[in-house]
Symmetry: C2
């Protein structure tokens, strides 16, 4: 495969120029110089190299501003690809995206994560291979795989530090094993962090904004992005919003904390409450024995949308608790935007959006300094898998951190060393 | 005054070298090259310039490692000074620190913040002048003043966005006015953020750690530092831990939120609870009419230390609530360390430290990834004022962001522009 000639030298400069081209979609060299603060000569040289590497192409001329019209450059979307894999208790979603972040192929299947990892990962690898073949993507152009799943994790070692999806996954080297099987670099990351960065790459948020993503599938996770990079903290196990407490007098959660948000607002709680509401359970034909509560949750969400008062009350209660926790995250991280992502926001997203917005407008300590806006994810239900693919593109192309072939991630460099000049 | 010749050129490199010298206390040029990733030639040139500017001095020879012993360099502590001013409802603390962060003079006085700002600021300015005169600090060597107080704030405009200390302070241009009166640059910042960065400058935390500071005076604030810089978020109004909710069913706070930590754990609540405990109130001779509840709180804390069971129960309850909120902050920011700073931790700090540590050990989602340690601040009761002074040193010397003469802060530069190379 291509080992990024992108990073022959001056990684920060090349990454910065590529990221500005990506965000602008198409841009002239003069505008690039203005946006990056680099000289025209540096821009010309870097753009020439990027065109030589096939990552960037010329794309017609912009409007004249007096002199002759300027030639525009843009990313060459078919120059590179990456793969996103989301592993969840109930489902596995795999996407292939191009350099512009467009989804070129997608598959999803169920049940794989209830297998032990040494049986599940070969199935995942086979599905990735099949998807690349179906999409007719040249293997040499695939930068790598972003595997996203539950926290906590040891991201550098490529290991999950949670007994989810099942006990056997705890401490199993998921990223190195998948990398061996695919012969591609694999990075492991948190699903909610991935969903968060996906918004940035797709241009759905202002480049310099500070935003949080609430990711809801079977559980509830969170990710925060500051000026285009995922907030990492000490060990990349940050913003686990599902396991912050909203009730100091609440019951103990399996994580060790008390009053965890997930147990108040999560889909399994809403389904349990609906099953305990006889009329509602009967009307929606809810199955108390269903092993996939997301389908039952989607029914309740759909009924809330169409005006069933009991369903609406349950969804609004869940949204109110989420709004309460969103206030905590916004107060602590001083957010501009809260993005709602993941499959469990898809059906009743507009109810969640309006209730969470109300809570932020009423409760926020710094609301005199600036408002916080709640928006749905541009990647909807596939946000985590798409974000996994984006993390690979970002790591390889704009942040200049190569993925090693064996899937384990390099230790961070000494801060400041490569930016000093 | 001296307009930092430090920043004639290459601010990132000079700032990085200065920061490594600061952290190491004394270091050879060879070690500097290793620690920064810069070449020996660059180090020699930068160190020559820093010596020329008087910021760094040679300081004897290190141990030989085979060849001839290496000359060590260190900061010249008397080369520059800065002033920290903390304005609080009950007290104002002013400190003068040298380049090494050592306190060379201190004063504190009461009552000033209950005056309107146009009467209070001239008094503060006069105290700063008097302190600089007493300490015989050359005015030309004073880089500026770090004024720290309540959030929310508009840090760039130098304005408080809170009706604290009194209504007249809301939206009053505190930093520009104080700058005019002193003829020195003044930056405004959050008291808890200042307390947090003070720990870093004093070398009390690992340089690359992610840590949070809980700052408790009359209220409860918070600050987070990532690899030596304050986490800012959208508008520098981050980590306001006193106004995160710990109880979704709690009472509404004046900030608009419900169940705010400050109303469960803060000194005024502890004092109110003690006054409602007749035996305790009598034993400690608590004054229900006292306008300064910090003195009453200190008595309760002292009684808890000496084993009064009722006092101990109240302090432990406050600590338990703080621990609960500390878990939230640690889960969201993925912290390594929690620092306890400010006057209200001084007396019963060891009780707070051990209870908060217990909560983190039991409740933390990512405790399998790494532990979180609770430590007292090295700056104790003066942490905010010391931190205010440190923010000036850091801004001017190692981050390369000059303070403007008029006290208003410059807008942030386009990200990436000055680090691309």
């Amino acid at each position: 495969m291509v080992r990024s000639p992108v990073w022959a030298g001056r990684p920060k400069t090349r990454g910065l120029v590529l990221d500005v081209i990506r965000a602008a979609r198409s841009i002239s060299r003069v505008e690039l110089a203005a946006a990056t603060g680099l000289t025209g000569a540096t821009i010309s040289e870097v753009v020439r190299e990027l065109i030589g590497d096939g990552l960037v192409v010329e794309a017609g001329r912009g409007a004249s501003t007096g002199g002759k019209p300027r030639t525009l450059v843009q990313l060459n979307p078919v120059a590179r690809y990456s793969v996103g894999v989301q592993l969840e208790r109930n489902a596995c979603v795999i996407v292939v995206v191009d350099l512009a972040g467009r989804q070129v192929a997608r598959t999803s299947f169920r049940g794989v994560a209830s297998l032990p990892p040494d049986q599940a990962l070969p199935l995942v690898a086979a599905q990735v291979e099949a998807l690349l073949t179906t999409a007719a993507v040249d293997r040499d152009k695939v930068l790598g795989v972003g595997l996203v799943s539950y926290g906590p994790q040891d991201r550098h070692a490529g290991v999950l530090l949670t007994p989810q999806p099942t006990e056997e996954w705890y401490d199993y080297p998921v990223a190195p094993r998948l990398a061996e099987q695919l012969g591609l670099p694999v990075l492991l990351d948190n699903d909610a962090a991935a969903a968060a960065i996906g918004e940035y790459w797709m241009g759905a948020v202002e480049p310099h904004s500070t935003y949080g993503c609430i990711y809801m599938a079977t559980g509830i996770g969170g990710g925060v992005v500051v000026a285009g990079e995922v907030y990492r903290g000490s060990s990349s196990n940050s913003a686990e919003i599902g396991h912050i407490s909203i009730d100091v007098h609440g019951e103990e959660c399996s994580c060790g904390n008390v009053g965890c948000l997930e147990n108040y607002a999560g889909p399994s709680t809403v389904v349990r409450q609906a099953l305990a509401t006889p009329g509602l359970a009967r009307r929606l034909a809810l199955d108390p024995a269903a092993d996939d509560f997301l389908t039952e949750f989607a029914r309740i969400a759909a009924a809330a949308n169409t005006g069933d008062p009991e369903a609406r009350e349950l969804i609004e209660r869940s949204a109110r608790y989420l709004g309460h926790a969103a206030v905590t995250v916004a107060v602590l991280f001083d957010l501009d935007v809260v993005v709602l992502a993941g499959p469990s926001f898809v059906v009743a997203g507009s109810i969640y959006q309006s209730v969470i917005q109300q809570e932020l407008d009423r409760r926020l300590f710094a609301r005199r300094a600036h408002p916080v806006r709640v928006v749905p994810s541009v990647n909807g239900s596939d946000a985590a898998a798409m974000g996994g693919a984006v993390l690979v593109l970002q790591s390889e192309l704009t942040l200049g951190r190569s993925l090693p072939e064996d899937g384990a991630r390099p230790a961070p460099a000494v801060a400041g060393a490569d930016e000093a000049s």
